[in-house]
């Protein structure tokens, strides 16, 4: 059948380039491998030349694939599944990039592009290590390219083609629409991008994170090259800036993800120990460990073996994280993992391809790796660097162990152990956050203290007395600051008992110690020479991150506590602990107190061209004594509202202060259209005289008198009208006092009309429906709507000193950057 209106060329080109990238990277791998193996210089050169060309061609091909996909998305060619699944016509242009990497194929493509860029830089810079390093790189590119093939090899589907047509997709084979040649006429719009990804962080976070992932292969490749060529020394210098680079980029990538979670997800925070977050944190930890053992080796000759191990394991863990998130194995435990695309086998193979050779080589050549027989001194820097690295490894082991629960289940099932011992499937701990925090806090304490102290030790050996002489000042200062913060800040986080609170105070000290210790070191150790202070600056930043994490989470406060209902239910009942009542209902225009603030929900608004609904929340902070308003601001938490299903996907909005953030989001809002239809409350008639009252559920209405010249914005007087207004006063239980004036009028001497008056905060509608002159009475019709017709349910949190965390991240990045400059210049 010939289909009409399809644009097949960009897809065919894209697929061709994907295959070209695959073939070219195989050529590059083989050629670089031969360049290492061949002994003669002339042959080596010719292999190298071929390999370089092949690598450049594969890089160009990868970029061409990316461009084709961009072109398809940008032109809304919905005949392609990728475009249809991830974009829609109304998607703002800046989110086109987010949709590009929102599916697995796109994320592999991104990774592959970075590998290419880094590979080309290494071809130019790594000199005699080029051939072995680039063999590893090219092999990685073979794997990456294979993920985008979408070709059946021996009955097994290899990769997933991003250029698959919608009508070719397996799930659409039976759909009758694709039997019509003009099916495209019926596909007007795409499925659209997942709303949580429509956030500016999602434009920038994935490229940085994947650059971090890609750069982790460099230390791996250098270490592998060293073992492979038995040249154990020449790789140390060039690898150091790259290891720093990898730590820096992966760190930024992870923290940008945290910022995204903070700004667009409603978890109430930046970190939730989600498996996906954990999986990328662990390789960062091991790479930091490897970086420190590398420094130890560089200055003392110790710990080369562990450096190689850490570099290997870091990249293996990156591949493992990619396996966890992309194989769908996390399905039941993670919030944002991909779903299984039938590529788990391939992902597993890609992990083994790097794990088996590297670990085997490390075991086989362990004896050859240079090491020093003499023990390191307890007063040497290298000894404590090594200890710190092991602590980082323990942190990584704990995180990995729990994150891998679904993997343990699979393994136990496959090995038959599960049926043998009649084991149940393991589930993640019910309080995941505390499960991690209670171990990691001790690790953070030890790391903080090591960060503060180890700088003051010298490599090889520190003269007796020197350490105490240098360290008493920062120690005393840190103790002083800790005391001050503990006294002024009063951390009373007793949710998990006194033991955990002790740990919190210890961590407070450790993080302050890390900051103070390194600031002091810049002046006393480095004599203020900022050129060499990269490490110290990075460590100050690390201390700030620890401090920011500690304070913002231990002093995080939910201010949207629904206190009213707490009393209703019995505050002291067993359930009240389970039910922290963190959501509060705000009727429109009614001021509610939350912590130090008085919050009013004023209404919602939508703007043309913006799919989101904005909820207008007015905050006021009043002076406690005088009641005068000290501060006023408005927050606009927003949500994507799906009218049909009345579901909403909301984004928080925060008021940022230097010392704290007020974080607000809407957790529920009524479906107004539905509610208007469902409102079946009847008007109740009352016949009353002047001075009589009518009671309603929240108070009563008094008829003060009649007004022969009524005025109302809903009533336009015309000549000849006979109009009477009923002057009503409304008194409520809460001593509020309102005026109402419904109007009754006769127009053209024959038509009776009634102009209703309403009292929105009380949902009260009053009609003046009849005058009975004979009895000197009037008839009022009163309606009380059942519920609040307009309200939002929201949650508001205060994160104190969260800026310390973000600032800490920035400082760490700057410090690492300084180190990179310093280490590359030393060449």
């Amino acid at each position: 059948m010939k289909f009409e209106g399809e644009h097949l060329l960009p897809g065919q080109l894209g697929h061709f380039f994907a295959i070209l990238a695959f073939v070219a990277s195989i050529v590059a791998t083989v050629a670089y491998y031969n360049a290492v193996k061949v002994k003669e210089a002339a042959l080596q050169d010719s292999w190298k030349r071929l390999a370089r060309w092949a690598f450049v061609i594969q890089s160009a091909a990868v970029i061409a694939v990316f461009s084709c996909l961009c072109y398809i998305l940008n032109n809304h060619y919905f005949e392609y599944k990728y475009a249809w699944r991830n974009t829609s016509r109304d998607l703002p242009v800046q989110y086109l990039l987010s949709s590009l990497w929102s599916d697995q194929e796109g994320s592999f493509l991104l990774w592959s592009i970075w590998n290419s860029v880094l590979g080309i830089i290494l071809i130019r810079t790594s000199k005699k290590l080029e051939a072995p390093v680039m063999t590893v790189f090219s092999l990685a590119q073979v794997i990456m390219a294979s993920m985008l093939l979408g070709i059946f090899i021996l009955g097994y589907k290899v990769g997933s083609n991003p250029f698959m047509l919608l009508r070719e997709a397996a799930e659409n084979q039976a759909a009758p629409i694709f039997r019509q040649p003009d099916y495209l006429q019926h596909i007007h719009d795409g499925n659209g991008l997942n709303v949580t990804l429509q956030n500016y962080w999602m434009v920038i976070h994935p490229p940085i994170l994947f650059l971090g992932f890609a750069s982790m292969i460099i230390p791996f490749a250098f270490a592998f090259a060293a073992l492979w060529t038995r040249d154990y020394t020449s790789w140390v210098k060039p690898v150091l800036p790259w290891a720093l680079f990898a730590v820096m980029l992966l760190g930024i990538g992870i923290m940008m993800g945290a910022a995204w979670a903070y700004e667009s997800l409603n978890f109430g925070g930046y970190w939730g120990w989600d498996p996906v977050e954990n999986a990328s944190l662990v390789p960062w930890l091991t790479m930091v460990a490897g970086l420190h053992t590398l420094l130890a080796y560089k200055h003392s000759g110790h710990a080369l073996k562990s450096t190689v191990f850490f570099f290997f394991i870091s990249y293996i863990l990156i591949l493992y994280s990619s396996f966890l998130t992309k194989s769908g194995i996390l399905g039941d435990t993670s919030v944002h993992s991909f779903t299984d695309m039938g590529m788990s086998g391939q992902l597993l193979i890609s992990m083994l391809v790097f794990t088996v050779p590297s670990i085997t080589l490390l075991i086989l050549r362990r004896k050859e790796i240079p090491s020093i027989n003499k023990e390191e001194s307890t007063y040497s820097r290298e000894f404590w660097l090594f200890v710190g690295s092991l602590i980082l490894l323990i942190a990584g082991i704990q995180i990995t162990f729990t994150t891998s629960i679904p993997v343990w289940n699979k393994l136990l099932g496959l090995s038959g152990l599960k049926s043998l011992f009649k084991l149940d499937d393991l589930a993640p701990p019910s309080d995941v956050i505390f499960h991690f925090n209670k171990i990691q806090i001790w690790i953070a304490i030890v790391l903080g203290v090591l960060t503060a102290v180890v700088q003051f030790l010298k490599y090889k050996d520190t003269p007796k007395g020197m350490l105490t002489r240098k360290i008493w000042l920062p120690t005393a200062l840190a103790l002083l600051f800790t005391g001050l913060i503990a006294w002024k800040g009063t951390i009373t986080y007793l949710n998990y008992g006194a033991g955990f609170l002790t740990a919190i105070y210890l961590m407070l000290f450790a993080s302050i110690y890390a900051i103070v210790g390194n600031v002091t070191y810049i002046f006393t150790g480095l004599k203020g020479k900022m050129k060499n202070a990269g490490a110290s600056v990075a460590h100050i930043g690390f201390g700030m991150v620890l401090l920011g994490v500690l304070i913002s989470s231990s002093k995080m406060e939910v201010i949207s506590i629904d206190k009213m209902k707490m009393l209703n239910d019995g505050f002291f009942r067993k359930e009240s602990k389970q039910n922290p009542r963190e959501n509060i209902m705000l009727p429109k225009d009614v001021q509610v107190q939350m912590g130090d603030y008085h919050v009013t929900y004023v209404g919602d608004s939508i703007a043309p061209g913006d799919p989101k609904t904005y909820y207008v929340m007015r905050y006021e902070q009043k002076d406690k004594a005088t009641g005068a308003v000290k501060e006023r601001f408005t927050l606009y938490p927003d949500a994507f509202v799906n009218k049909k299903e009345n579901s909403l996907s909301s984004n928080p909005s925060s008021r940022h202060y230097l010392t704290r953030d007020i974080f607000t989001y809407v957790s529920a809002a009524p479906n107004k259209a539905e509610e208007a239809k469902a409102d079946t409350t009847q008007y109740v008639s009352h016949e009353i005289k002047q001075g009589d009252s009518v009671f309603f559920s929240k108070g009563f209405i008094v008829l003060k008198g009649l007004n022969a010249k009524p005025q109302s914005k809903n009533y336009m007087a015309q000549p000849g009208d006979l109009a009477v207004g009923a002057e009503l006063e409304v008194y409520t239980q809460t001593d509020d006092h309102f005026k109402l004036q419904p109007i009754y009028f006769i127009r053209d001497s024959s038509y009776q009309y009634s102009v209703e008056d309403t009292l929105a905060p009380l949902n009260l509608n009053v009609r003046f429906s009849k005058i009975m002159p004979a009895e000197n009475k009037i008839e009022l019709k009163v309606k009380e709507a059942a519920g609040f017709s307009d309200y939002v349910v929201m949650k508001a949190l205060v994160f104190p000193y969260i800026n310390v965390l973000w600032l800490g991240v920035i400082v760490t990045v700057i410090g690492t950057g300084m180190s990179i400059v310093q280490r590359t210049r030393k060449k």
Binding site: E171, N191, N194, F267, G272, G331, D332, T333, S334, V335, H336, S337, T339, E375, E376, T378, F383, F386, V387, L390, L393, I394, I397, Q398, F401, T402, I405, D424, D425, L426, A427, P429, S430, D431, I433, H435, I439, M556, V558, D562, K565, E575, Q578, N579, P580, R581, E582, N583, I584, M585, N642, S647, S649, S650, S667, A668, G787, Y791, V793, K795
Partner: protein, 132 residues
């Protein structure tokens, strides 16, 4: 014995200690029936929404109370009470993973993880509502 070896041993001991304490934290997947036998302990229950019975969330009365019915793997239906706002798109959830415990005939949960088949897509999206 070299100091490095001693430290390695200590580290291994600590790591084993950590892992052992961690395993104690691990939960298991239960059904309503087995969770009832161990009343008061927290478990994960995987189930489907029972669409025949109404879910109830009335923020005007109580913004922190959401109840619904879930069919577990064995087909048993239980009322589930969640102290919090109704998670977004809950109606669309195909399967849910509940964390909580049995109290009498009701299952009280503190966390809901749900899998929604998103519109047109044949794959599933995981959404959760975490309580802090």
């Amino acid at each position: 014995m070299k100091k490095t070896n001693i430290i390695l041993l200590v580290v291994i001991a600590v790591a084993i200690g950590v892992i052992v304490t961690m395993v104690g934290d691990f939960s298991t997947y239960e059904t309503f029936a087995t969770a009832r036998e161990k009343e008061g302990k927290e478990f994960h229950v995987i189930g489907k929404l029972d669409t025949l019975q109404a879910m109830h969330y009335d923020p005007v009365k109580d913004a922190n109370l959401f109840s619904f019915y879930v069919l577990d793997k064995t087909g048993e239906t239980r009322k589930v009470v969640f102290y919090g706002a109704k998670p977004t798109d809950f109606e669309k959830a195909e399967s849910v993973v509940l964390t909580g415990k049995m109290e009498g005939n009701e299952f009280h949960c503190s966390k809901i993880l749900m899998k929604c088949p998103s519109k047109y897509k044949d794959d599933q999206v995981v959404v959760s509502n975490k309580q802090m």
